[in-house]
C-alpha cells in the first residue's frame, strides 16, 4: 500500500516534529510512506477567506504531487477536509476526484484503513483532548454533542491504546478553540477569548498536555498558553501515538 504523506505548510515550517512523528508512526505500522517533496499548501487559507479562485496553483501542485498514491494521509483534519471538499482539476477532473476519495486524516486512516488494534506507545501524562471542528464535524472523526446519533471517537479509540495516558475532556466537549484560519487575526478579540476559555476548562482538569488532531488549533492554544506562562503544553496526537 503506497501512502503519500501530506504535511501541510505550517507543519512543515513550524512543527516539523509532527510531520516526523506521523511519518515514523506510519512506517512503524508497516506502511510504504513517501513524502512528495514539491508539496506546499492545500489552498485552504485563501479559499476560507473567500479567494477560492486563487487556489488554482495550489490545486495544480497538489494533484501533481499526490496523483500516484493509493492513500494520502495528513496529520490535519482541516487541510484534509479542504482537499476533500474543494480540490479541482479542470483538465483532469478524475485525478482530483481520486485524490478527494483517497485522502485521510491520520486517525481516520489508522482506525478505518489500517484497523489498528495495538500501539506500542507510552505516554504517562494527563492529557486533555481538544476536538478540532473540521475533523469532527467535517470528516466525522467522532460523534457530535449536537446530534442524536450513537457516540464514537476515532482519536479516542487510539488514545485509549496508549500506555499510561490519562485522557480528559473539557466541560464543553466539542466547542471550537477560535483559530478559524484568518479568523484568528481578523476577529482577534473573539478568537483569543475562545482560546482562553478552552484552556481554562482543560486547566480545571489539571492536564499536563492538550492534544488535538489539528496543529492549527494547537498553535493558537499554545500561543495563549505561552503568553500566560502556563505549564500546560500543546502536543499533536501523532506525537503521542508515536511516543514510546
Amino acid at each position: 500500500m503506497k501512502v503519500g504523506l501530506f504535511i501541510p505548510c505550517y507543519i512543515d515550517q513550524f512543527y516539523p516534529q509532527v510531520g516526523i512523528a506521523t511519518y515514523q508512526l506510519l512506517k512503524k505500522l508497516g506502511c510504504d510512506v513517501d513524502y512528495p517533496e514539491n508539496q506546499t499548501c492545500c489552498g485552504q487559507p485563501m479559499a476560507n477567506s473567500g479567494f477560492s479562485p486563487l487556489t488554482g496553483g495550489c490545486d495544480k501542485n497538489f494533484v501533481a504531487n499526490f496523483d500516484a498514491y493509493d492513500y494520502i494521509v495528513a496529520p490535519s483534519g482541516s487541510c484534509v477536509l479542504h482537499i476533500k471538499e474543494h480540490l479541482k482539476d479542470d483538465k483532469n477532473p478524475e485525478k482530483a476526484q481520486k485524490i478527494r476519495n483517497n485522502i485521510y486524516e491520520l486517525t481516520e486512516f489508522l482506525v478505518d484503513i489500517l484497523k489498528v488494534e495495538h500501539l506500542s506507545s507510552n505516554f504517562p501524562y494527563k492529557v486533555g483532548f481538544h476536538t478540532s471542528c473540521h475533523g469532527q464535524r467535517g470528516l466525522h472523526l467522532s460523534s457530535m454533542t449536537e446530534r442524536v446519533l450513537p457516540q464514537f471517537s476515532k482519536p479516542e479509540q487510539l488514545l485509549q491504546k496508549v500506555k499510561g495516558l490519562q485522557l480528559s475532556y473539557p466541560e464543553r466537549k466539542d466547542e471550537c478553540c477560535g483559530f478559524g484560519g484568518t479568523f484568528c487575526v481578523f476577529e482577534e478579540a473573539v478568537s483569543v477569548k475562545m482560546g482562553k476559555d478552552r484552556i481554562e476548562e482543560h486547566q480545571k482538569n489539571e492536564v499536563d498536555y492538550i492534544t488535538a488532531g489539528d496543529v492549527s488549533c494547537l498553535m493558537h492554544l499554545e500561543g495563549i498558553l505561552k503568553r500566560q506562562g502556563s505549564k500546560v503544553k500543546a502536543i499533536h496526537l501523532a506525537e503521542i501515538l508515536n511516543h514510546e
Binding site: C9, G50, G181, E187, E188, I224
Partner: protein
Amino acid sequence: MSNLKTLDHAAAAEIFIKDEARTDWHDDTLWFVRQKRDKAVHGIAEWEQLREWASEIKNHTLSNLDNYLIAFEKQAEANGIKIHWAADALEHNQLMHKILKDNNISRIVKSKSMLTEECHLNDYLKKQGIEVVDTDLGERIVQLRDEAPSHIVLPAIHLKKQDVSETFHEHLHTEEGNNDPQYLTEAARQHLRDHFIQSELAITGVNFAIAETGGFVVCTNEGNADMGAHTAKIHVACMGIEKIIPKTEHLGVFLRLLARSATGQPITTYSSHFQKPRSGQEMHIIIVDNGRTKQLGRADFRNSLKCIRCAACFNTCPVYRRSGGHSYHTAVAGPIGSILNPNLDMKANADLPFASTLCGSCSNVCPVKIDIHEQLWKWRQVIVEEGYVKPEKKIAMKGMAWLFSNPKVYRWAGKSGRWFLRTMPFLGNNKLNVWYKQREMPEAPKQSFHDWYQQNKNK
C-alpha cells in the same frame, strides 16, 4: 441603532469583550440555553428523523412556493381574512400605516415578530407619530431602553437583571434596586395588561402558515400574542413568504422541533391556531417578500429560507456568545443572520460571513438542516468576487497564492524564516502583528520537515 454608523463585527466584538466578566456571563447564559436544548433533543429518539422531515417539507415547499402562496391566499380569504402583499419593508410599513389610518387606530400592541424588526416598523410608525407597544417581555425591555433586540428568541439576553431593574424603575416606577426577576416580571404584567385590555389593534408575527387551510400558527410562552389578538378589533399578522407549509399535519413535525431547539421546552406554552376572525373582528395578513424571492433564486443560499427562527444556531455559536447580538448590526443576528443579511445588503453586511470560525455547530443544531456554515463559506466567495473586501487582504491573498503555487519559492521563503512568517495567513499582512497581541508566535525550528525528510528518508 439604525441612524448610528455601525462598526463591523470584529470591531464591535472587541468592544464587547473588553468587559471580560460580562462576556463570560453572556457566554454562560446562552450556553445554558444550548444545554437545555441538548437535554430536550437527546430525549427524542426520532430527533434526526424529525429534522430530516422538516428539511424535506421545507425544500418541497420552496420548490412550489408560488402555488402554495396562491392556495394560502385563496383559503384565507375564504375564511374572511384580508390578504395584503408587500414587495419590501417600506411597502409593508406603508400597508400597516394605511390600516391604522383607515381605522383611526391609536392603541397598538405588538407581539414578537422578527419580520417587523427586519422592516423597522416601529421606527417607521414613530416617525408618523404612532406608538407601538411591544408586549413580549424581552422586547418591551429593549424598547423602553431604545435598543434593538440582540437575539431573536431572547431579545434582552444581553442585559442583566440590574439593567432591567433600572429601566423599569425609570419607566414603570418599580422599586429602585429591586432586581428580583419575579418582581420585575409582575410589574411588566400589570403594566402591559393595561395596554392589552385597551388595545384596538394587535400586530403579531406568524410562525407557520398552512396553504391547505389558510390558517396560521403563532407560538409564544407568555401568551402575549393571544392577549392582543383576542382583545383588539383588528388583528394584523405579518409573515415572510417562507412561513408557508403545505398541510396541517406538518405542524406535527415543526412544533416538535421549534421549542426544543429554541429553549429546550417540549413545546411553547401557547401554540395558537388562527383560522378565522372572531365575530366582529377584522383579521389581516401582510405577506412580505423583502428580498426573499431573490434569495430563492440563489441556488447556493435558497435553503436559508427554510429557517423557522428558533435561534439554536445563536446559542451554540461560540462567536455569537462572545460578541453579543448587537455586534451583528442587523435585525437577525447570529449565524443565520450572517447568511440572510448579505442578500439584503451585501456591502453593509460583507463582514458577517467572516464572523465565524466555520466550526459547523450551527448546521448541526439547525432543526431544518440548513447548511449554515457551508453557506457562510460560499458567501465569502461571493463577497470577494463582488469586490467587498479590503484591498490589503486581496494583496496578501494573492501573495500567498503565488508562494504556494511555486514549491521552490515556498522552500526558499521557508528557509529565510522571517519572510515566510510575514506571509503566513495568521499575520494578516498587518503592520502590527495582530497574532502577537495576546499570543506568542510559534518558534521557527532549525529545520523544516522537508529538510528532515531529505536527510532521513533512506535511513
